[in-house]
Symmetry: C2
Subunit: 210 residues, 2 copies
């Protein structure tokens, strides 16, 4: 099938939403934990976390336009500058998915979705106890994306917590060992199975594909 | 294991690169195809493609700092504003990985890695014939990320090509049906297996997790 720009624009809205959300390929499944200055916690699933750099260790994620609906994650990050990113594993995929409910600010997704708040080393934002790989980040910058009003939220990793068994011989993290999952589109979840590991590519060591 | 910001900063460089590149979770595996105005093609693997919006249909990807080394993808996109994003499938993971070689501008990764250029409907940039799901994009905007010199490259989908069998009953795209792969860190590849599909969440329809 071949859709042109014009055909994509004319597509029924929900169909377009589902298809265009899926065409980038597999997306990471992460729960972002925050807390307001008056102590109300929030937890929300995001599929847009992206690596921005290792030194300093920076992560980004895309925030949908602020204004039309309440964005508790955004508000809390601006209030106190701290948030956590927690991997979603197979054992709590359903709980994680339902954090996308538009709950009132007075109700926390942690309790409503039966996930456990965990506090680490005086870091303000709550981690997800059920998650094996989690990071505590300090907010660095929000970069506006004018064309559609989305925002690239950037933070630096201040705490990185992960199981020793997840780090393999070559210092690669094995996502399968933790049953970390991926997302496609808006509501499909995938398990991950390692199939290949290749070396850093040097031109002089390239295989002959001919 | 628990690493603080200070411990991450002191980590051996390659270890840090591998770990921090992996902690965001699974990443999509895409080949970006471009062509210079003098007709030289380029193909490069990227793990940072991110959905930015569906209407208009916008995709972003992160470009590492320009200046220190040649960035043929970036140069070609600025020259003529067109590029393609092509899913990597299990059948050509190794070919795709080796497009990260720093080849001279005069040598195309298409021929060196035995992947086939495909041209569609007069669209300037080359698609990857071996890929089942591919998009032709027109460059919209480059947004600088000052803190580390990376660039968020934004484009709009003008052509979307995908197999009919990949679109499921609920208009979700089934990544397993195409053997699309994911990346962790710098050089590990994962196969994807669909495990769950949940509805769009309405508060009134939430399950009772208690």
């Amino acid at each position: 099938m071949h859709y042109t720009k014009e055909q994509i624009e004319k597509m029924e809205r929900v169909k377009r939403l589902k298809i265009i959300n899926a065409v980038s390929g597999i997306k990471p499944a992460n729960l972002i934990g925050t807390i307001s200055n008056d102590g109300m916690t929030n937890l929300a699933i995001f599929s847009s976390v992206v690596h921005l750099g290792s030194d300093p260790a920076l992560m980004g994620f895309i925030m949908r336009p602020v204004g039309d609906v309440p964005r508790h994650t955004y508000d809390n990050i601006l209030q106190n500058g701290s948030y956590t990113i927690n991997h979603v594993h197979q054992s709590f995929v359903k709980n994680a998915h339902y954090t996308s409910a538009k709950l009132q600010k007075e109700e926390s997704e942690f309790s409503r979705c039966a996930l456990t708040e965990e506090y680490v080393d005086g870091f303000k934002a709550p981690f997800v106890e059920e998650s094996y790989l989690k990071m505590g980040l300090k907010f660095v910058e929000a970069i506006d994306i004018p064309i559609n009003g989305t925002i690239l939220m950037i933070g630096e990793i201040h705490h990185l917590i992960l199981p020793e068994y997840s780090i393999g011989d070559h210092k690669d993290i094995d996502l399968s060992s933790m049953d970390t999952v991926g997302i496609s589109g808006l509501n499909s979840y995938y398990s991950l199975h390692k199939i290949n590991e290749f070396p850093y590519v040097r031109v002089s060591e390239m295989p002959d594909f001919a």
